[in-house]
Symmetry: C2
Subunit: 240 residues, 2 copies
């Protein structure tokens, strides 16, 4: 299992610039051997503008960026990629575009079999997991399935948000939403990654990185908090 | 067109009990001729407990409640219904159950052709519209389509929430989410119903009721605020 993943909760932390809060993790994740990163901007409407944003940031870290939408054949672009970064935006739009462009299976193969490093942020983290069932996004388009690339066998909830005791709003809290998910049969664990959190996966080892704790929800069990630095490798084999 | 709809943003307003804030509207909507209301509890996991909650409240208003899940044949229950109330919870679970139980077309027929009054709250309001594309809920199950009962030709966003200028959270605001929806082609208007708002539809007349303004989002146009009492009938013919 050659899998290497950097799954980021959010691309921008309040008060800092695009990917600033995790740039050292990005540099050590892609390392010196990767020169070019294939960027997937499908989650936002303006793919050119989004690719420019990613390109400008990655340039400061020493990497060239190719937008997958700039390639004549997106599957071929995945086949040749040295590294992959899928950015955030709307998860439904992103997943539908991944299927429309026939790249889901090819990305899975490249990451799981060839060890191509995969970085995801927000929606790009959702689609790396078993399914998009725990995205926060609005279902603005209908994808052919909620099953995703499946690089890990559990779910992630990015931008995880604690209940606000002062709120007068009566919509479900994030915890209530995840609890509703776990009322459904055979639903895997959900790792709530607060803004500022990242999960690094290397083969069968998973480590929580970043500046905040993460909260793990498992069906039928009390939820558990994990500090940055925690070993979460058990999630890779024991998702239920 | 006999359609009569009472589309409520939220079942419970902060600081008051279940359906308290709209109980006078409920009484005048179902009136004296309706004796029994068919309740659809599909949006929550515990259908019996949910039906009990609705039954207790409607009893204080003079109506008996039948849970659709208690009927041997849910389609037959819709055929015999004097009035329908679909409660809130998870919109994806609700829509999937409506399709699993084959009641979508029958509810549409009863409301549009026979004039059976339809009340929806939150998720029950989402499914009354053209589609569930503008629900706030988590996609915990995969419905066969996002197309809904289609009693009105536009979308509603229940629990509409204004951006919080003090928030440090970087997830999309509600307005940004609806804007992303309108980046997609041929998307209808979205009526953002704040908590405390209701929309009453009688034939081809639509009136905003309740205690708060509503915000209307139309693709390619600036959004517009409407006061309680506003005539929104134009939405019934001119959804784009
Ligand atoms: Ca998003
Ligand atoms: Ca809900």
């Amino acid at each position: 299992m050659k899998r290497r993943l950097l799954l980021v909760s959010n691309s921008t932390l309040h008060g800092s610039g695009y990917l600033d809060h995790c740039q050292q993790h990005i540099s050590s994740f892609f390392g010196k051997n990767v020169k070019r990163v294939l960027f997937v901007p499908y989650a936002l409407h303006d793919r050119d503008a989004y690719t420019k944003t990613a390109r400008n940031k990655f340039k400061t870290l020493g990497y060239e960026v190719d937008g997958i939408h700039e390639a004549a054949d997106p599957v071929e672009a995945v086949r040749k990629a040295e590294g992959i970064f899928i950015g955030g935006g709307n998860t439904f739009r992103l997943l539908k575009s991944l299927y429309d462009n026939n790249v889901v299976a090819e990305i899975r193969k490249r990451v799981m079999e060839d060890g191509v490093p995969y970085m995801g942020s927000s929606a790009g983290t959702n689609v790396a997991t078993i399914s998009i069932n725990t995205t926060n996004d609005m279902p603005i388009v209908f994808p052919p399935t909620f099953s995703a690339i499946g690089l890990v066998p559990f779910n992630i909830n990015p931008h995880y948000l604690d209940p606000d005791p002062n709120s007068r709003h009566m919509g479900e809290t994030r915890e209530q939403r995840i609890t509703q998910y776990h009322e459904e049969p055979d639903t895997p664990s959900v790792l709530g990654l607060r803004e500022g959190s990242l999960l690094l996966v290397e083969g069968n080892k998973a480590t929580l990185l970043g500046s905040t704790k993460a909260r793990l929800f498992t069906s039928g069990k009390p939820s558990v908090e994990y500090d940055p630095g925690s070993d979460l490798s058990f999630l890779l084999s024991d998702a239920r």
